[in-house]
């Protein structure tokens, strides 16, 4: 059984329907990616999983239905959502941002220990722990966002476009850390990306979305080799 099962998910903003029955699975312990162009509905899919938009359809986490639940309650089940744009609390310090990440976690353990873990993965945050988060660079804020998600001790980490607006070198660094976290903390990852080349290198399963529908799925290797994907999304 998959950790997250999404079936026939529909979502709309006002009168405009943006998801037309999306189905996909996230396997426990794996990294799954959803690819697609701007406006394909990737972000909405993640938001729908977290109860941030009105939806219809089935969302099951660990076998339990979570469709229609409030965001705060979904988070409490161990789903950490790192939103597009990073969602930094710019007027709070780096360490306060991290403490907020641990606010709702259901699994116990010491806060100090988790801060150490977060700082181990992102040493630059340790250097800046007393600084206001708004003064960090874009890459550092993205690291802070991932670290904040990690503080929940999540079972599932949802990453929305972590590469957005960052230099390629920084993106590579962040993806490397995500892989390490996935292996060491045994956190399943659902990654939504426009940067298909990077995402396919990181993930083991992939889905391709176009205008609110899943149009292709398979292992990351399969999608990498697929002609259409190569031409339209990888650019060679």
């Amino acid at each position: 059984m998959a950790l997250l099962e999404v079936k026939d998910l529909e979502a709309q903003y006002g009168w405009t329907k943006v998801l037309h029955g999306v189905s996909f699975d996230v396997e426990e312990g794996g990294i799954t990616t959803i690819l697609g162009a701007n406006g394909a509905g990737k972000t909405t899919t993640l938001r729908a999983v977290c109860g941030m938009v009105k939806t219809r359809g089935g969302v099951r986490f660990d076998g339990r239905s979570i469709a229609g639940r409030a965001t705060e309650d979904v988070v409490r089940l161990g789903i950490a959502h790192v939103p597009e744009g990073r969602g930094t609390f710019v007027n709070l310090t780096v360490e306060e941002n991290l403490r907020l990440g641990a606010y709702a976690r259901s699994r116990g353990g010491s806060l100090a220990e988790d801060l150490q873990t977060a700082y181990k993965y992102f040493p630059v945050l340790a250097e800046r722990r007393a600084q206001l988060a708004g003064t960090l660079s874009g890459g550092e804020q993205q690291m802070l966002a991932v670290a904040r998600g990690l503080m929940l001790r999540p079972r599932l980490l949802l990453l929305d476009e972590p590469s957005l607006g960052l230099a390629p070198l920084v993106v590579r660094e962040i993806f490397r850390i995500v892989r390490t976290i996935n292996q060491e903390q045994r956190v399943s990852v659902l990654l939504v990306e426009q940067n298909a080349a990077m995402a396919l290198r990181l993930a083991d399963r992939a889905y391709l979305m176009e205008t609110g529908r899943v149009v292709m799925s398979g292992s990351a290797a399969e999608l990498r080799e697929h002609d259409t994907v190569r031409r339209a999304y990888l650019g060679y």
Partner: protein
């Protein structure tokens, strides 16, 4: 010189009260982007509750503590029942709801307690405190001490507790807060409760000076607006400091500028609001609000 020091200290005492009400305004403004025009009437109502308990023979500090608890609960209830339904409505709607609340609280207080002024006791001895050759009103010193104690308590709460941190987060970034599992609606309600509590302290400290009646907070609220504007509506510490400055300016202007006297004191506050808005709209310590459109 003696008169100057006396006037400064008594200015600080009333300034602390203005600062408290200003802080209550700023707390709600930061969390919900709304100026709570009913803040003064909520404080007045709390003070009447304290008066009722004192009249029934409850010892002062017990009545004081009970009033804080009841005010907190009422503040939470007001947010849940009156403000919650208009959450997300245009600002004008919420402003009108707040003004409606003001009128209702005012008339209910008048209906229950009548509009006749009542004396309200001070917990501090009537004998002035003498330092060298200068005499200070014991109530002035005591009120200043109580106010500062409450403010220090709030500072510790917001700075060092997890709930305080969550409330600051909810005020700044509700979407991210929900993703951290924070129940934003309740954080706002607790904010209203705390604002009501701070207002209650201000009401009980100012009532011995201005006497208790349903309109007693009208003037104070204007001073509080002046304080919050001066310090910056986005800065809690600035609002308190603004209150202290306004209190001192008000007293000094009344004493040393002869045509102002006691009659034009309130005008000083309004002039101050105008000057700050013209010269430095974000206040001394505020940040200019930048909205991306």
């Amino acid at each position: 010189m003696d008169i100057l020091i006396q006037q400064v200290v008594s200015g600080l005492a009333t300034g602390g009260i203005y600062g408290s009400v200003a802080l209550a305004l700023v707390m709600i403004y930061q969390a919900t982007d709304v100026v709570n025009y009913a803040q003064g009437e909520m404080a007045m109502f709390s003070t009447y509750l304290a008066w009722t308990m004192l009249n029934a023979g409850v010892p002062y500090w017990l009545a004081f503590a009970a009033t804080l608890v009841v005010s907190f609960v009422l503040g939470v209830a007001i947010e849940r029942i009156v403000i919650r339904p208009v959450e997300g409505a245009p600002v004008l709607t919420i402003v009108i709801v707040c003004i409606g609340l003001l009128v209702i609280l005012n008339s209910v207080a008048g209906w229950i307690y009548s509009y006749i002024q009542k004396p309200f006791p001070s917990p501090f001895p009537p004998k002035p405190i003498r330092v060298g050759n200068i005499y200070f009103g014991a109530h002035d010193i005591g009120a200043l001490a109580v106010t500062l104690l409450v403010l220090a308590g709030l500072y510790v709460f917001f700075r060092f507790t997890t709930l305080g941190l969550a409330m600051r987060a909810a005020a700044q970034n509700p979407v991210s807060s929900r993703l951290c599992g924070i129940r934003v609606g309740w954080m706002l309600a607790i904010g209203w409760g705390l604002a009501a509590l701070v207002g209650a302290v201000a009401g009980m400290m100012v009532a011995p000076i201005v006497f208790l009646d349903p309109n007693m907070m009208a003037g104070i609220l204007i001073y509080a607006f002046a304080s919050a504007t001066l310090g910056g509506f986005t800065s809690p510490g600035g609002a308190v400091l603004g209150g202290l400055i306004v209190g001192v300016i008000e007293n000094l202007a009344g004493t040393y500028v002869h045509f102002i006297g006691t009659e034009l004191k309130l005008t000083v506050a309004l002039a101050l609001i105008l000057i700050v808005l013209l010269v430095r709209p974000s206040g001394l310590f505020g940040r200019a609000a930048i909205h991306r459109v």
